[in-house]
């Protein structure tokens, strides 16, 4: 048998930080054969990206590596730069998570592909251009010749990722290393990119090393799986072994934490469905427009949107990026002015309220933001951040305020001593708990949760969702839960509303939407969600491709 494309033995990466060597990946052993996909999965900080970058010695200067990395039988670990450059791009190509930052914004995508080609092959500009257009066509970007001269910002997120794949494939690499290639994309686009990668793998017989945290993507793509935790290999086996017969408790925990679409039981409504109480919030024909700025024309982000949320229920608002869900969430509590329609919160019309009235109404609302790093003031200890709304409302001061802050920290299961910490000293999940504590400081009637878990690892997300459910059943607030992740919405919500291009496409009871979607867009959205089960996912994929 010939050599595998990538063979990694006893491979260890350590980083020198403040006088100590910190291991980031310990004693890794794996190999990838041509035409196969090995997925490395793990949570953030598990060392999966470090492992991938280390294969081509693309690590920071404070890293040291040991062991052996062989590409097609040639040792590349410790090779000099000239040798490495011959491998990089030509034999081993990378696809990164964020195509907008991985592509150079001042060059056209065509130019960037031509550059890669001419670095490795002795070909003229015309010839390279022909080949580049061929590649752009291969990754299914519409109008390859026209797209050749486009800059990255003129393409959509999915097209940018395709352009980057085209660049990676320019030299027919034997090994493609894809580091979270679809994390920044919407599910429908993700499904297309994964289809594309699968097609190219069979056509070019490349080996793929896939780095991801998404078990659904793994189930969709991987032949073999390597599970990492804190730099160590936890489990390594075929896709079937890992998904169906996981041995290690961590693998089981990881799989258990992944939310699965349609796996939750029916949920009782917190109110009598036939005689509904007065809604906490009622949005009627709401239209939000971002006014024109200079030459950028006015943009209607939300159009004629209707939604009611009743006391004690969670309504999931789903849609792809740019569909206007965040705008709805912010407009609902008066953070963005609305152009038409009315918003009614516990009997007060906020579209006509003065600043002073708005301040009073805001005591009834709270909001949790998507990015826990940006939603807390980096220069304030978290205790002050949590206490701020209470102080602003004039409810407590001094020692009484301290006690309330302690109670809030307790309620979100954070130690009281964390009060003195700054946001960056907390993990993402802890920061998001602080965000919740702050939003619930005034025991609001309505909580807007804007993608609160999208920046979190699955196990952290699972605990966070549990906490949110606990708090919700205890405090009985109404909640608008905005998410792009249908599986998460499935776990939490009583009802679901689906948005597309600023309009409400469909709304109704959770089971009605997820099991019997009426609108074709909802159907497509649900079909595109990868299920963390290889066999089932293969069936879903076949069904999706057949319906195309």
């Amino acid at each position: 048998m010939s050599d595998p494309v990538l063979k990694v033995q006893n491979y260890t990466v350590e980083f020198w930080v403040d006088g100590t060597w910190y291991p980031a990946a310990v004693d890794m052993n794996f190999e990838v054969e041509a035409g196969k996909v090995l997925a490395i999965v793990g949570e953030s900080g598990s060392g999966k990206s470090t492992t991938a970058m280390g294969v081509m010695s693309l690590l920071a200067a404070n890293a040291r590596t040991s062991g052996s990395v062989k590409i097609k039988g040639t040792e590349v670990l410790g090779a000099d730069n000239a040798t490495l450059r011959k491998f990089r791009g030509k034999e081993v190509a990378y696809i990164f998570q964020e195509p907008m930052s991985a592509l150079n914004p001042v060059y056209t995508i065509g130019f960037q592909i031509v550059e890669t080609l001419r670095t490795h092959f002795d070909i003229g500009p015309t010839e390279a251009r022909v080949r580049a257009i061929e590649l752009i066509g291969m990754v299914e970007i519409p109008n390859p010749e026209g797209s050749f001269d486009k800059f990255p910002h003129q393409l959509s997120g999915g097209q940018r990722q395709r352009a980057m794949i085209a660049q990676s494939l320019a030299c027919d690499p034997a090994l493609l290393i894809a580091d979270e290639p679809t994390t920044a994309l919407d599910v429908t686009v993700q499904a297309e990119i994964l289809d594309l990668m699968r097609g190219l793998k069979t056509r070019l017989n490349s080996a793929i090393l896939l780095i991801t945290h998404d078990m659904g993507v793994v189930a969709d793509m991987a032949d073999d799986i390597l599970v990492m935790k804190d730099g160590n290999t936890v489990e390594h086996g075929t896709s079937d072994q890992i998904f169906n017969k996981p041995q290690h408790p961590y693998t089981k925990e990881l799989l258990g934490a992944v939310p699965k679409l349609g796996s939750t039981k029916a949920r009782e409504f917190p109110y009598n469905v036939s005689a509904k109480p007065a809604p906490v919030i009622k949005l009627e024909n709401v239209t939000v427009e971002y006014p024109k700025r200079g030459r950028i024309p006015a943009f209607t982000a939300v159009k004629e949107f209707n939604l009611e949320i009743y006391p004690g229920e969670i309504v999931g608002l789903v849609g792809e990026s740019g569909s206007g869900k965040t705008t709805v969430g912010r407009a609902a509590i008066g953070l963005i002015p609305i152009k038409e329609g009315s918003i009614n919160i516990v009997g007060n019309d906020i579209s006509k309220a003065s600043q002073k009235e708005l301040k009073g109404i805001r005591r009834h609302t709270g909001i949790v933001f998507q990015d826990p790093a940006s939603s807390l003031n980096p220069r304030l200890p978290i205790g002050e951040s949590i206490g701020e709304p209470i102080f602003l409302a004039g409810l407590a001061k001094g020692e009484e305020l301290d006690r309330k802050v302690e109670d809030l920290l307790n309620s979100v299961e954070l130690p009281r001593s964390y009060r003195n910490r700054y946001p960056h000293e907390l993990s993402g999940g802890q920061r998001q708990r602080v965000g919740i504590a702050r939003a619930l400081a005034l025991t609001p009637d309505l909580l807007i949760a804007d993608e609160p878990t999208s920046a979190l690892d699955v196990s952290v997300q699972a605990r966070f969702l549990e906490l949110l459910q606990d708090l919700q059943s205890k405090l009985n607030f109404a909640c608008l839960f905005i998410s792009h992740d249908l599986a998460v919405v499935d776990i939490l919500s009583h009802r679901i509303a689906v948005m597309q291009n600023g309009r409400l496409v469909e709304s109704g009871d959770r089971d009605a939407i997820l099991k019997r979607p009426q609108d074709p867009y909802t159907q497509r959205l649900i079909a595109a969600v990868p299920i963390p089960n290889p066999a089932e996912q293969a069936l879903r994929r076949a069904a999706r491709l057949a319906s195309k």
């Binding site: 912010r330 509590i333 953070l335 708005l358 301040k359 009073g360 805001r362 005591r363 609302t365 709270g366 909001i367 933001f369 998507q370 990015d371 940006s374 939603s375 807390l376 003031n377 980096p378 220069r379 304030l380 200890p381 205790g383 951040s385 701020e388 709304p389 602003l392 409302a393 301290d402 307790n410 299961e413 954070l414 130690p415 009281r416 001593s417 009060r419 003195n420 700054y422 960056h424 000293e425 965000g435 702050r438 400081a441 005034l442």
Partner: protein
């Protein structure tokens, strides 16, 4: 997780951001001692009359007996002795230490007042134009463009004399006092727009961050957001700017005194001493070297202290 609560009460005690910053500053040796050096210069400047009286010296007395006919002081290193620790001024033979001490009073006063005013104005204007944006921002932006595009050195040289006369006619101040006021006014006028721009760009990026929106959603007023959310994030910029602008204004005062539009003899400033010493650098190098070294010391210590202070205020640097 809750078990950490059982730990000592020390961890539970509320440590204010100021206390944390102070602890960190103390742990940073270089910054801490630089702070002492800077403080030493400031204290000696303001205690100048006291020090000179104790030493039995006077900045205006001419110790001509200690200076040769060529104008060069007797003895090594510009005539250093117990009575005149830093030697004598060549020519008329005034005591160099008293000259520098009294000179630093004027230099520091100019530098501190101008820095504080430029940073104060720049901070307010920058926050207002960054936070409120729109027309306010446009108007302020054009005004600062206008000021920044002025040939400031030329303006100051040309206008100091007529403006000084104008101030003298109001009987507010005379001679050097009037010239110092004019210099300060000019330095502030040309100093604030640079800092205001820095603040504006920071506020612009911060305004889009979620924590500002979070504060809005809690019903915080614009004033409260500026004070509580924005200002703590702007102090570090102000401190870095201060540690750069203080020595900058020290040097600027020296330059303009050197050019003859600042403070004039018989008063002295570091700039005047330096400009005078240039003509003696071959015969009496110590006369040039001593004020130069002191200027470098002050500038360096202020810069290092400013750096340390910024690190201490940055929650992301390591905890003490």
């Amino acid at each position: 997780m809750r078990t950490t609560d059982a730990k000592s009460g020390a961890e539970l005690a509320i440590r204010s951001p100021a206390k944390i910053a102070w602890d960190r500053l103390r742990a940073n040796r270089v910054a801490f001692y630089s702070g002492f050096v800077a403080l030493f210069f400031v204290i000696t400047a303001f205690a100048a009359p006291f020090i000179t009286r104790v030493m039995g010296l006077n900045p205006t007395s001419q110790y001509s007996s200690r200076v040769a006919e060529t104008g060069i002081p007797f003895g090594h290193f510009g005539g250093m002795s117990l009575g005149h620790p830093l030697g004598l001024e060549p020519g008329v033979g005034r005591d160099l230490m008293s000259l520098l001490l009294y000179g630093s009073r004027i230099s520091f006063t100019v530098a501190i007042i101008t820095s504080i005013f430029s940073i104060g104005i720049g901070m307010i204007v920058g926050i207002v134009s960054g936070y409120y944006g729109g027309k306010v921002d446009a108007v302020i932006g054009r005004i600062s463009d206008f000021i920044l595009s002025f040939p400031s050195v030329f303006m100051i040289v040309a206008l100091v004399i007529p403006l000084t006369q104008r101030i003298e006619t109001t009987h507010l101040a005379r001679d050097n006092g009037a010239r110092i006021i004019v210099l300060i006014i000019f330095f502030v006028i040309f100093g604030w727009p640079g800092f205001a721009r820095l603040v504006r760009s920071q506020v612009l990026s911060m305004r889009e961050r979620d924590f500002v929106m979070a504060a809005q959603s809690q019903g915080a007023s614009g004033y409260r957001i500026i004070i509580k959310e924005l200002l703590p994030n702007l102090w570090p910029t102000a401190i870095v700017f201060l540690s750069l602008s203080l020595p900058g204004f020290l040097a600027a005062e020296a330059v303009f005194s050197f050019l003859g539009v600042g403070v004039q003899a018989p008063a002295s400033t570091w700039g005047l001493v330096l400009s005078d010493s240039v003509s003696y650098w071959q015969q009496d190098p110590a006369y040039l070297l001593i004020p130069s070294i002191m200027l470098v010391l002050v500038v360096l210590s202020l810069n290092l202290f400013g750096d340390g202070l910024r690190d201490a205020l940055d929650p992301k640097s390591d905890r003490a």
